[in-house]
Amino acid sequence: MVAISPDMPRIDGDRSHRARLTCRVLVVLLLASSVLSLGWGASGTSLTRAVSDLLAGRELAVQDRVVLLDIRLPRVLMGICVGAALAVSGALMQGLFRNPLADPGLVGVSSGASLGAILAIVWGAALPASVAGIFGWYLVPVVAFVGSWVTTLTLYRIATRRGRTSVATMLLAGIALGAILSAVAGLVILRANDSQLRDLTFWGLGSLAGSNWPKLLAAAPIMVLAVLSAPALARGLNALALGEAAAGHVGIRVQRVKNRAILTVAAATGAAVAVSGGIGFVGIVVPHLLRLASGPDHRWLLVNSGLLGAVMLLWADMASRTLIAPAELPIGIVTAMIGGPFFLWILLRNRGVLDL
């Protein structure tokens, strides 16, 4: 990210000071939400008691240790990674497609991942025991991740000709490929039994309930790398807002920006969807909120999206595990319940602007 020198004269409409303030507030919020999230849950385990136990040199009770270290901590970290990955992917896609409605679904990540998950859930049981034994519960995330990558790369190849990727072709081919994939998914679902259908439904609603250390260690590096590398694309995306030709004229290597943005999105969203299922709307709501608050400059937008996405998902997850405790509300329901109405509100507010 390029530092903005403080003594630069402020240009009219420059909102970078607000963006900087937002960033600081979000960092504080993220830290506070993480601690809160660690201390909050259905069981009686409290963070303060655990900390005072530790300070007094006492061993933690088995249940406290399991709840804090094996259930809540990986879940909080997973929430941060998934939220950041989804929100940053959303911001990247909207920048790349120059369309406020773009989300990672456009490059086939979601349809590919869900076909992968469906295949793994329905046919996983038919695998030889030796193969099933190696993968265990990794099977669904791994196949979902592979599915998202294969789809995105296929789309990318369809849309790229003579070294130039057409985002319009990608969008249209994405719709066609999505239709094919969902038809295949339908065929597989026909063969599913009752309990597999239940599993599919719950997968589609999204959840962080299955977070554990092995899963976190496998998926988090991919998401962290993608989120941290995203801000390097900020200048390119800013220039792309003027149109591809204009961006090229100001010296941006447009094709490189496209390649990297698409790969980043595929990696981040693929990993996020693989471990948490279908969590909707984070990728659309978070960047929009930030554009309203502090402007569309990608130099701040990408960083802040990561932070706000993480904060939002932590709160959604807290709601998901406490609202109907000890049972759990799938987190996709929570994000869609908040995200859907919010999105409508944005549409209504900007009706004039979006009326094309």
Binding site: S43, A132, D199, A209
Partner: protein, 290 residues
């Protein structure tokens, strides 16, 4: 393949797992909860899952969520000292976390036949450490099942029964092989009209006619409104009426003679302590009287 994986899974905890001291038992799965009640050990229960609705008292227990979508912390929050779960409880990640919490976790294998139910009784009784009560329930259930079996054997030409899960929107959702509906139809000495389809599948009208069932079996879900919408009418009688007048069903022997049977869903399909009764009751309803 599936069976091999299962065998490997079951091979590990083959030694006796018995927890007579457990006083805070969490039952996951409708049949398991029913079995705990049938063994008279309900005072030791602290929680149940969403699928455990029988006996009605069970509804007063804390509900930890749907058995295939458990949240590990939610389960721990009722502080159980024994988890008795039906096969298929999950997700697997949640189960592995629960096992790492040093909590006794007993999986009760599923089985849609007489041996399967009796094995469930034994497994639950052993886990709870009540062998005498388990033995008594085993004997009682075995006697009922033998009774059902002898009744079934006395039938010369088995009737074909079609289990209809729902009739929503005029579409017949029916039970093929490998389902609990298939299991209970066999126990009742009848024949599943859908022998060449696996699982619960939507049927075309022609497939219904081709299956030519002598009896249509539907279930009552205990909630009048849900029943009404699922079975396509606003009461049980109306549901029977509307099923009978559906063009596809009207063409079958069952539809022509109006032989539509409705039974309590959990009792019929639960494969718990009421399975013996259910088989005899279904036999009576299918073959009339006796």
């Amino acid at each position: 393949m599936k069976r091999l994986a299962l065998a490997l899974l079951l091979a590990a905890p083959a030694h006796a797992e018995t927890y007579p001291e457990a006083s805070r038992v969490l039952a996951i799965g409708g049949a398991v909860t029913e079995l705990v009640y049938a063994l008279g050990e309900q005072d030791r229960l602290v929680g149940r899952d969403t699928t455990s609705n029988w006996p009605p008292e069970a509804n007063a227990l804390t509900d930890v969520g749907y058995m295939r979508a458990l949240s590990p912390e939610g389960v721990l929050s009722v502080s159980p000292d024994l988890i008795l779960a039906e096969e298929g409880a999950g997700p697997p990640e949640a189960v592995s976390v629960l096992k790492s919490a040093n909590l006794p976790y007993v999986t009760v294998a599923e089985g849609y036949d007489a041996a399967g139910v009796l094995a469930k009784v034994d497994a639950v009784a052993e886990a709870l450490g009540v062998p005498e009560k388990g033995h008594a329930l085993h004997e009682k259930l075995a006697a009922q099942l033998t009774d059902a079996e002898s009744k079934a054997k006395a039938v010369g030409q088995p009737k074909k029964v079609l289990f209809v899960l729902s009739l929503q929107g005029g579409r017949v959702m029916a039970g093929g092989t490998g389902t609990s509906a298939d299991g209970i139809i066999r126990l009742a000495g009848a024949q599943n009209a859908l022998a060449d389809i696996q699982g619960y599948k939507p049927l075309t009208d022609e497939a219904v006619i081709k299956a030519a069932p002598d009896v249509i079996l539907m279930m009552q879900r205990g909630d009048a409104k849900a029943d009404a919408t699922a079975n396509g009418g606003d009461s049980l009688e109306a549901a029977k009426q509307s099923a009978q007048t559906m063009p596809a069903i009207a063409q079958t022997p069952a539809g022509r003679d109006g032989r539509i049977v409705i039974m309590d869903g959990l009792k019929l399909l639960g494969f718990g302590p009421r399975t013996g009764e259910a088989a005899i009751e279904l036999h009576g309803l299918v073959y009339g009287g006796s």
